[in-house]
Structure formats: structure tokens, C-alpha cells
């Protein structure tokens, strides 16, 4: 493609100077959007994988003189009840020390915290394929064990998953808009080039050049400019994404799963310059064909 003969002096056009920069910016923005979508999807799927097979039972602390023992009693009852539920694979009560350790990042490790009447948590692992009526179990639990309630992660997780899907669609829309803007710019650049070189195009037309012979020359040029700009935009996006990833890893702190991107994400990122160049080439070709169709 790059070694093909060109009769049109397109290399010296003013449009050749701004098109690569615009494509670079568009690929940079597309890389950001695509990476964001893949990263969010990855986080959500890890989160989903981590918690979709679990529910948590929360037991409020009992009051009175023997509060500690009464609370332990409630926890034991709840554990026994959950173990009898078909589809439950494991039930593990979290001791007070573990609960305090979880709260330490927020409340600190002082004696005051140790004396707080903290609710006790019970991790319940369930078979993801089992059909368990969690509402019925929650009802039975609250009736049987005072102060016990069932926390099903699926409700808030599904909201997070919805948020993730929305962000993915948003990224697709952003990439679509970027493609439209790139195409519109290539149309403008190509029409400008055709106006500048009208005399040459007419001579080629009159000596028997097919429309595609002329269109190919504009398309090849648009591909080269688009690829150059796209590679530059990707080169700019890599350090920006690395910096964002570094900042995100500092934020994780045990709350978020580790942020990363699947292989498919890296493949799509790597393809962005080629896709941008292909889009520029196709747009230029169609633009020239459209314009030449109006010649006699």
C-alpha cells in the first residue's frame, strides 16, 4: 500500500498537518474510554466472583449483664440454623478479634473500640447453582434468633453491576462519537484536498482513470496519516493509563479488588491505531467516490 504510485501531491497539503494530530487525540480519548470500560468490567467480574457465592448473617449484640455470653449464644444458634439449610456449603462465624481487625482502618485499635457493642458477622458460603429462597431463610432467621438478619450481597452487587454495564455502554458511545468526529474530519480534509487538486483530478479523470484509481490515492494517504496519528495517540495513552493504574492501586486498600485489564483489553488498545487508520481510509475512499460521481 505504501509503495504504490501516487499522481496527486497530497503530502504537501495543509490537511496532512492537522489530521494526524486530530487522530492522535481521538485515539488517546478512545484508549481512555476503552481502558476504563475494560477495567470496570474486570473489577466487577472479580467482585461478582468473590461475593456471589456468599451471604452474610449479622447478629446484633445482646444487652444486659451477660451480654457477651448471650451474644455468643445468638451466634451459635444462627450458625446451627444456617448449617441446616440445603445448598449451604460452609458457615463460619467471625470472632470479635477478626471483626475489630476489619474495623481498625476506620475506627482505630483503641480500647474504646474494643468495648463497643459490635454486631457479629457470620460468613455463609452457598452453592452458586443452588436455588435457595434467601427471603424465607431471612424471615426464619429473624424469627428464631433475636437480632439476627441476613445480608444478601446480590442486591447491592447487582446495582454495581448495572453501574458497570452503564459505564461500558457509555464507553461504547464515547468511542462511537470519537469515530464520528474522526470521520467528519477526514471528510472535510478529503474534500479540501479534492478542491485543491481539482485540476489534476480532472486530468486523471479525462485520460481514463477509474474513480477508484483516484480514490485509492486519497485513501492511502488517509491511512498513513491516520496510522501515524493513531500510534502517537496510543503512545501518549500508555503512560497516562499507567499513571492512572498506579493511582488506583494506591486507592484499593482492601476495599476494591485489584484493578487490571484482561488480555482482550490490551488487544483492543493495540488495534485502536489500526482501526482509526482503517476508518480514515474508508471514509476518504467513500468521500472521493461520492464527489467523483458528480463529474460527467
Amino acid at each position: 500500500m505504501f509503495g504504490r504510485h501516487s499522481d496527486l501531491p497530497l503530502a504537501g497539503d495543509a490537511t496532512s498537518r492537522f489530521l494526524p494530530w486530530l487522530v492522535a487525540l481521538m485515539v488517546f480519548l478512545a484508549a481512555m474510554a476503552v481502558s476504563g470500560a475494560f477495567a470496570v468490567d474486570e473489577v466487577m467480574s472479580r467482585w461478582d466472583h468473590d461475593v456471589s457465592g456468599t451471604v452474610t448473617v449479622q447478629v446484633l449484640p445482646a444487652g444486659g449483664d451477660r451480654a457477651e455470653a448471650a451474644t455468643e449464644d445468638r451466634v451459635r444458634q444462627a450458625v446451627d440454623l444456617m448449617r441446616l439449610v440445603p445448598g449451604v456449603l460452609a458457615v463460619r462465624a467471625m470472632d470479635k478479634a477478626r471483626t475489630l481487625a476489619l474495623l481498625e482502618p476506620w475506627l482505630g485499635g483503641t480500647d474504646v473500640v474494643r468495648d463497643l457493642p459490635l454486631p457479629r458477622l457470620i460468613d455463609v458460603t452457598i452453592d452458586p447453582d443452588a436455588r435457595i429462597d434467601l427471603a424465607e431463610i431471612a424471615d426464619r432467621l429473624s424469627r428464631t434468633v433475636p437480632g439476627a438478619s441476613l445480608d444478601d450481597h446480590r442486591v447491592w452487587l447487582s446495582r454495581l453491576v448495572n453501574l458497570s454495564r452503564t459505564m461500558e455502554w457509555l464507553a461504547i458511545v464515547v468511542v462511537g462519537l470519537i469515530g464520528l468526529v474522526t470521520s467528519a474530519t477526514v471528510v472535510y480534509a478529503t474534500r479540501t484536498g479534492m478542491a485543491v487538486h481539482h485540476d489534476i483530478i480532472e486530468v486523471l479523470h479525462l485520460i481514463g482513470a477509474h474513480d477508484d484509481y483516484i480514490a485509492r490515492q486519497f485513501a492511502d494517504r488517509a491511512f498513513v496519516l491516520g496510522l501515524g496519528g493513531g500510534l502517537f495517540g496510543l503512545a501518549m495513552a500508555v503512560p497516562a493509563l499507567s499513571a492512572l493504574g498506579w493511582a488506583a492501586r494506591r486507592l484499593e486498600g482492601g476495599f476494591l479488588p485489584s484493578i487490571g485489564m484482561p488480555i482482550a483489553g490490551y488487544v483492543v488498545l493495540g488495534l485502536l491505531p489500526v482501526l482509526a487508520a482503517g476508518l480514515a481510509m474508508l471514509t476518504a475512499r467513500l468521500t472521493v467516490h461520492g464527489a467523483l460521481a458528480r463529474m460527467p
Partner: protein, 229 residues
């Protein structure tokens, strides 16, 4: 080259009219036919419509009325994608040369071959030969901006004939060259004509027409063609 048997009409105009936009008709009821292998001069005063008539003949314009038949194809009913094949059978020497300034003389002459997909080895063989024949052997790599008017005209003529066209249309081809070169170019046209190419030369040069008076003349006046001779 697919020359037709001499005598068959290579081009025919029936009651052709042409106007630009909403202006007056520059050509009116033009009717003529050129036999294959003929050599015609197209004469007439300035503004008579010679260039417009040539543009219709090389498919640079569509008539606003009437019928143009070229190589047995009615242009009005010929599909657009078929027109390049017809244009490749026509060589044109434009009045203002219309050379591509960024290309060398060799590349300008090679253009009709390149649009046909002729191999570079063939181009490198035939184009220098033709440029030598028109006296430009030492100007193969020269850009048009460095050539004189006469040299540009010879490059334009070489570009028109390199594809051995069935029909050669020349608009004032000898306007910028001295008598010696003009005669040499006319002999080139006659050689091509002997090989079967139909030639139409639009010119103001009455002395040239007289020197080659054995060729018929199409005279254009007030937008209408009258055959002379």
C-alpha cells in the same frame, strides 16, 4: 489498440446543443460524423465553440440536448463506470497543456499508461522513446515549470499519443511552437493517422491548414458546424 475499419463512423453528433448553466447555447444543432481513420481540422473564430465541441468529444461535458455516439456507444445511455474505457481510446492535447506541475516530463507522459495499470518496466521503455521522438530526450526528469511553452506542448502531445489512441483530439497543438516543430508535430499526427488513429486538430493557424489542405475541415461559426472541403 483496436482500430476500426476505415470508413466506419468513429464519432457522430446528431442535433447536439450545449449551454453552460442558464446561459445561451454555445453549440446549436451540431450534426456531423467522423469516419474512422480520418484527419480533420476544426477551424473557426475565437469564441466559436471549438473547445466546447472538443470537450463534448472527449467526454469532458455532456450535451444539453441531442445525441453523441462514440465508438458505437450512445453516451447518454452508457453507464458511468464504462466511460473510462471509452476515454482511454481518446488522446487529448489540451490548449493549456494541463501538465501536472509536480511530476517530471516522463511521469506526465506515463500517466495514461499508469491509469491503465501498465507495468513500470514497459513505461520506462516506451515513454523515453516517445519523448526522444518529440525532441525531449534530455528533459525526461524536468518538471513542467522548467520547460518552455513549446517543450510543454510536446510533452502534452506525447502524453496524448502514448496510449496509441483510436481518436486524437488536439486543441491548438502548434500554438506555442516554431514552424519547424509545428511541422514535425503535424508529421507525427499524420504518422499516427496512417496507423489508423482518427485525428481532429482545432487550430487558428490558416497556413498550417493550407499546408495540409488534403485533410478535410470542420468549420465552426456561431455555434454551428459547417463542413468545408
Amino acid at each position: 489498440m483496436r482500430h476500426r475499419p476505415r470508413g466506419e463512423n468513429i464519432i457522430r453528433f446528431d442535433s447536439v446543443g450545449l449551454r453552460y448553466g442558464l446561459g445561451p447555447e454555445v453549440l446549436r444543432d451540431v450534426t456531423f460524423a467522423l469516419p474512422s481513420g480520418s484527419f480533420h481540422f476544426l477551424t473557426g473564430p475565437s469564441g466559436a465553440g471549438k473547445s466546447s465541441l472538443l470537450r463534448l468529444m472527449y467526454l469532458g461535458l455532456r450535451p444539453t440536448r441531442g445525441r453523441v455516439v462514440l465508438f458505437d456507444r450512445d453516451i447518454a445511455t452508457t453507464r458511468r463506470y464504462e466511460l473510462p474505457a471509452l476515454r482511454r481510446r481518446i488522446g487529448v492535447v489540451f490548449q493549456e497543456f494541463r501538465l501536472l506541475d509536480h511530476l517530471t516530463a516522463l511521469d506526465n507522459v506515463a500517466l495514461p499508461l499508469r491509469v491503465r495499470g501498465v507495468r513500470e518496466s514497459e513505461i520506462r521503455k516506451h515513454v523515453p522513446e516517445l519523448l526522444s521522438w518529440v525532441g525531449l530526450a534530455d528533459q525526461l526528469g524536468a518538471k513542467p515549470s522548467t520547460l518552455s511553452g513549446g517543450q510543454k506542448q510536446r510533452v502534452a502531445i506525447a502524453r496524448a499519443v502514448i496510449g496509441r489512441p483510436d481518436l486524437l483530439l488536439a486543441d491548438e497543438p502548434t500554438g506555442n511552437v516554431d514552424d519547424h516543430i509545428a511541422m514535425r508535430l503535424m508529421y507525427l499526427f499524420e504518422e499516427l493517422n496512417k496507423l489508423g488513429t482518427t485525428i481532429v486538430v482545432a487550430t487558428h493557424n490558416e497556413s498550417l491548414v493550407s499546408r495540409f489542405s488534403h485533410n478535410p475541415r470542420l468549420h465552426l461559426e456561431h455555434g454551428q458546424v459547417t463542413r468545408v472541403n
